[in-house]
């Protein structure tokens, strides 16, 4: 894997080209090395591809190869500047796959927002789009939920937000640095307060 470190910054080695160049040189050791490089590159790409596939939303699946490519470029830059040891750890590859995916999600959302802004007033014909009434209701729920979360004290709010994000109490406790029992109480009481508040605003979720 360390062979990838020799790659110049910003230059992607090609799986197909490197071995071919070595063959032309007729240099057996460099041919072997190039073959190893190609294998390492393919393996790195496969690992990133698996990571991206795990998190790429369905609506973005058509761009998953672009995301993998962007992640590859970022990893290669890190390898070129810092060496491969850190960059090739699974946790680091996941980190890069995550940031490349999130950047693409945001880029697509921004461009969609611009496109929608440009056709202001035009009727949306997509049958899967929510109706204006549904959108208005969802917007009201969002506002009410945001207001009610803001009313909770900080510790309860953080515990509840982690719970709503899908974390169990044990994980939330570790993330917050609290004990399990305390976190359980914060989540339990926080959810009760949140429901009371939403109910007061006319929502029962």
């Amino acid at each position: 894997m360390q062979n990838l470190c020799g790659t110049a910054p910003g230059i992607m080695p090609s799986v197909a080209d490197e071995p071919r160049l070595a063959v032309l040189d007729g240099d057996a050791p460099s041919q072997e090395r190039a073959s190893e490089d190609a294998h390492d590159y393919a393996e790195l790409r496969a690992r990133l591809s698996r990571a991206v596939q795990r998190i790429c939303p369905a609506w973005l699946s058509g761009q998953s190869e672009d995301i993998v490519q962007e992640a590859m470029i970022r990893v290669m830059r890190i390898i070129a500047s810092e060496g491969g040891e850190r960059a090739l750890q699974s946790s680091y590859l996941y980190r890069v796959a995550h940031s490349a995916t999130i950047d693409e999600i945001r880029k697509r959302r921004r461009s969609r927002e611009v496109a929608l802004g440009e056709q202001q007033g035009a009727e949306l014909t997509d049958a899967t789009s929510p109706s204006p009434a549904q959108r208005a209701e969802a917007e009201q729920i969002k506002l009410a939920l945001g207001d009610c979360l803001a009313e909770l004290n900080a510790d309860r709010r953080r515990a509840v937000v982690l719970y709503l994000q899908g974390h169990g109490v044990t994980e939330a406790a570790r993330l917050l640095g609290f004990g399990h029992k305390r976190t359980e109480n914060l989540v339990y009481r926080g959810l009760a307060s949140l429901r009371d508040c939403l109910s007061g605003k006319g929502f029962s979720l």
Binding site: Y94, K142, L145, V161, L176, G177, R195
Partner: protein, 112 residues
């Protein structure tokens, strides 16, 4: 605490806050969100990120994506601890075996 069916409605509503959210210049970098979600940051820094995702649907989504990929917080340290215990147990076992295989001490007797 396991998720109740009534909690699912709240979770769905919270997740819905990400619909159409694009983030802003105030958003933390995706890498920091990943670090927070995977437990790599301290509680203070993590709390700052949680405070942000409370009101930012885009970053809340980024957190959920990170949580789906990152090792669960604390799991890595549990594995490290398990390896230490295993290493300690092996060392003790090796010491016992070496002690047992040592030749018994010869008793000093009268020299003929």
């Amino acid at each position: 605490m396991s998720i109740r069916s009534t909690d699912q409605g709240l979770r769905d509503a919270f997740v819905g806050m990400a619909d159409g959210a694009v983030g802003s210049d105030a958003c933390p970098q995706a890498e920091r969100i990943f670090d927070a979600a995977s437990g790599a940051l301290g509680p203070g820094e993590t709390a700052d990120i949680i405070d942000h995702i409370t009101t930012c649907g885009a970053c809340a989504e980024s957190w959920r994506v990170a949580a789906a990929l990152a090792p669960a917080p604390g799991r890595a340290s549990w594995r490290r601890r398990a390896l230490w215990y295993l290493g300690g147990a092996l060392a003790v076992a090796a010491a016992v075996v070496l002690y047992a295989r040592r030749a018994p001490p010869t008793r000093a007797g009268p020299v003929p």
